[in-house]
């Protein structure tokens, strides 16, 4: 094949990429670059012109009385939710893997909430957590444990744990399925070999299951972290960030600044902070998890 026909071929390939590239470029990449650029200006959200103001927006966002709380809430959710979700999902996946019978039924049940809209999930749980008529408090009052009937979403110290529980109910099934596909990929011979050596079930778990699941664990931790950092719909419907700023996250605050209180320049500064935060977390996680995978193999 001569070089002019291979050039034609490359041009054709480029034409195939063009529609998708244009959509990504105009509707995601350009706005992202604009965010970066405009976060250093006094942009009002409408005008095409704006004045450079340096780091002013970042200073305003960071010095706002709610900033520490918002960052704390986001990190709190990460630290509680990600380990809890992954341990629980792995636990359920192992049970389903071991029973073999009825596996499909269990998978369907645990995956069912994941098919619902987070808007729906938010409303259902808002009613379930309700102080006067919610079924959780009804249950505690019926069995005589009145002290346990709490204002689950109204009490500043309970709202984040309640929200964590709701997110786990919603998300668990997806992560169970990923762990299960990891478990099914472990060759049975590996278990048989350790059995011949007389390994206990705990040893099998530590020496075979966990190392062989390393890729699935990596995927799940990274997916659940990205998902949580950018999570909007569920907290928005469930608490709207309240009471006060007690369950406000960075992702929610960007929406409020950009579209409710109409301070787009501050929304942009916070979005840039979120972007940097997300990238840093992913890089750190990748480093740790990859290293762990290598150590095991």
């Amino acid at each position: 094949m001569n070089s002019s026909s291979s050039r034609v071929r490359l041009l054709q390939c480029f034409a195939f990429c063009l529609p998708a590239a244009i959509i990504i470029f105009i509707f995601f990449f350009v706005p992202m670059v604009r965010s970066l650029q405009l976060s250093f200006t006094d942009w009002d959200g409408i005008s095409l012109t704006s004045q450079w103001v340096g780091l002013d927006n970042f200073r305003t966002v960071i010095s706002h009385r709610s900033f520490n709380q918002i960052v704390r809430n986001t990190i709190y959710l990460m630290v509680i939710y990600i380990p809890l979700l992954n341990v629980f999902a792995l636990f359920i996946a192992i049970q389903i893997y071991e029973v073999k019978n009825l596996g499909n039924l269990y998978k369907t049940v645990f995956f069912l909430p994941n098919m619902l809209s987070m808007t729906v999930v938010g409303f259902i749980w808002k009613l379930i957590f309700s102080f006067h008529n919610g079924i959780i408090n009804k249950f505690f009052r019926t069995v005589g444990l009145n002290a346990l009937a709490n204002d689950w979403l109204g009490d500043p110290s309970l709202v984040l744990p309640s929200m964590t529980m709701t997110i786990i109910w919603y998300a668990l099934g997806y992560y169970v399925l990923i762990y299960l596909s990891g478990l099914y990929n472990i060759p049975v011979e590996l278990y048989e070999a350790t059995e011949v050596e007389g390994a206990s079930s705990r040893q099998k778990f530590v020496n075979v299951t966990i190392p062989m699941l390393a890729p699935a664990i990596t995927i799940n931790i990274i997916l659940s972290t990205i998902g949580l950092i950018t999570l909007f719909d569920l907290p928005f419907v469930l608490t709207g960030g309240g009471p006060g700023y007690n369950s406000q996250t960075i992702a929610l605050q960007i929406y409020y600044l950009g579209f409710v209180t109409l301070q787009p320049k501050l929304a942009l500064a916070l979005a840039v902070i979120l972007g940097i935060f997300a990238i840093l977390i992913i890089i750190v996680l990748m480093k740790i998890l990859r290293k762990r995978e290598e150590n095991i193999l």
Partner: protein, 283 residues
């Protein structure tokens, strides 16, 4: 003899312990869904007094009927379907074309572009959100099916290209060589040979991204301002806002909004589970 006794014991253990744990958690997981379904068919006062049971005295369909009418359900359903349809067509056609172009070119420039798309997958939507909406306003794309779909297109396209490229690269190159010998051009090869091979992965993409688009709230919330153009989740949001004191109506509306996706999921349940599990390996 001893071995079979051990096996019996093991079976018993699985039956009692593993099934026990699973049934317990499965019930806990199903309670909120059961509660929603029966509450949607109950008069308000019975929702509070008999939360987990239903009988002839408490039964009503008026919640569902009223929620259906107040929400203007058929219109909202149509809006949701249009946005889903346009976004998915865009993602599948343009996404598979781009992946095909990248896989066929085998060239440094295309590899760089592919790497660039992969980096975009990990970046949060919030980073583009505010200027994106101001741009849509300038382009008169607010409150249009196309505008909302293009936002999904821009945000999800990289991920779709990533899945398709992985899949196309796993197809043996002998297929391409054979087609070339027969004088088949790139476009013909895409339409008649490659695209038909992408059925499974297209199913996986529809499940992974179609469900997310159908259920999404954030993007409709910022791209749609008129109630007449709302999607089902967005309409549910404003509906519950106005009728918050009537739990029966809230549950009725919630059930109505969930019904289409629940039906599809329960019908195609095996396919969904398989799709997610095979998609998981590729990520």
């Amino acid at each position: 003899m001893k071995i079979s006794a051990q096996k019996q014991l093991h079976k018993l253990k699985i039956l009692l312990v593993n099934h026990g744990i699973l049934i317990l958690f499965a019930c806990l997981f199903l309670i909120p869904i059961w509660y929603t379904i029966i509450s949607a068919f109950k008069l308000d006062r019975f929702i509070f007094t008999q939360p987990l049971s239903i009988n002839a005295a408490s039964f009503t369909v008026s919640n569902i009927v009223r929620a259906f009418r107040i929400m203007n359900y058929p219109r909202m359903f149509f809006n949701s379907m249009m946005i889903l349809g346009i976004s998915c067509l865009m993602l599948i056609i343009f996404g598979s074309m781009a992946a095909y172009g990248i896989a066929m070119a085998r060239h440094k420039f295309f590899e760089r572009m592919y790497g660039f798309f992969i980096i975009l997958i990990t970046l949060p939507f919030q980073l583009a959100m505010v200027p994106l909406i101001s741009m849509l306003k300038n382009m008169n794309l607010i409150n249009t099916f196309l505008g909302t779909s293009l936002v999904y297109g821009g945000f999800y396209m990289s991920f779709v290209i990533f899945l398709y490229t992985g899949f196309i690269r796993s197809i043996p190159s002998e297929l391409e060589d054979a087609a070339r010998v027969d004088g088949c051009g790139l476009l013909k090869m895409y339409i008649y040979i490659y695209f038909p091979l992408l059925k499974t992965i297209t199913g996986v993409i529809l499940i992974l991204r179609g469900v997310a688009i159908w259920n999404d709230l954030l993007i409709p919330l910022i791209t749609i301002t008129r109630t007449a153009n709302a999607t089902l989740p967005l309409r549910l949001m404003s509906f519950v806002g106005s009728y918050y004191t009537s739990w029966g109506l809230v549950f009725g509306g919630t059930l109505l909004v969930s019904l289409p996706i629940l039906c599809i999921f329960l019908l195609l349940q095996r396919f969904f589970v398989k799709g997610i599990m095979s998609g998981a390996i590729k990520q």
